[in-house]
Point group: C2
Chain length 194, copies 2
Amino acid sequence: MSANGRAEMKKSRPLRADAGENLVRSLEQLKAVFVERGVDASLEEIAKRSSVGIGTLYRHFPSRAKLLAAASDEQLATVARKEAELDGLDSRLEALHLFLKELVKRTGMYHGLAAALNTVLNSDAPGCKAATDLGKRLLKGAQDASEVRSDIKFEDVVSLVGAVSLSPQKGARDPARINRMLEVIIEGLRPIQR
Amino acid sequence: MSANGRAEMKKSRPLRADAGENLVRSLEQLKAVFVERGVDASLEEIAKRSSVGIGTLYRHFPSRAKLLAAASDEQLATVARKEAELDGLDSRLEALHLFLKELVKRTGMYHGLAAALNTVLNSDAPGCKAATDLGKRLLKGAQDASEVRSDIKFEDVVSLVGAVSLSPQKGARDPARINRMLEVIIEGLRPIQR
DNA sequence: ACCTGAACACCGTTCAAGT
DNA sequence: ACCTGAACACCGTTCAAGT
């Protein structure tokens, strides 16, 4: 019945290409597929679920990385919105810690995204850029305050955080594990005392 | 010339199935392919290069994980052979540090293996088992000596080490990066002072 | 100008047939 | 008992044809 209705609409109104509306709908489905299937979801399924031809999908997102960046952009914008709160903290290391916690939290729903986190953060989508800018600034601040060793690169931290969300044996989202591993990373970032 | 010779041998001696010799030859080629192509190398190519039918490959190694374990077993046995040396050290944390360094070193030649390191270490191949046993014992020792926080699991450490060999932007094997990231992990493992 | 999906290539996996 | 590779299924990617 409902399927019949959709078919009729498609026939009577030949899919007037409202690019904006169309893309938004695609993004919603895109995210849903990534949530259900993980970041290795088949492009075929994404296209089908997004009601878009596979060719159109490729034109909008020439690589899987672009797709991941688009799907993650909103979540990363949310991370970036923590800026004021984090800037208000006393400890720069604590600010970085909370940033990383938020990053893992907002990034965990796409299974396997962690492995591609550096790539996604380096994309030019606005949310990705904002989160990366904030993260780099927090790291720099902690280093200037001598709370983090000066030789560490932002990419090092992101790679380590990626490992956190990598499940040990496939499955099992273990919050305790995430917490203790983030603690290890944060404590390990401190300058070595001699 | 040499190719011709091989072809003749194959014809005159119809590949007498010396399973042992055959498997060893396969393993050599298997490792070569993983070195050249990374751990996602196509099974087709592995079979072809190993002069084995794809079906035979599947019978010997029903999953890619088994293949990875077989290819890594010798390297991991080498890691395990550090046992005496590491047991002789004063600091249990330093022993663990050197173990992890060795692990990264012997594991780095297969691009992408890091991500599957926990799986490989958990396989029942002898070298994998030996390396895992040693690693777990070293961690336990460091914890008993209060040099490592007691809530850490061996799998946590391996996951973090996996991140180390994960290149940030594809390519670039950077020894300095490996060293500082391993240092971050080791320092971060220390019990938190309060 | 934009969209579509058939068509091609490549790879994983199984299994009937061969020795 | 062991090996083989054709056959099938599935997925990524391109591009000629359609609107």
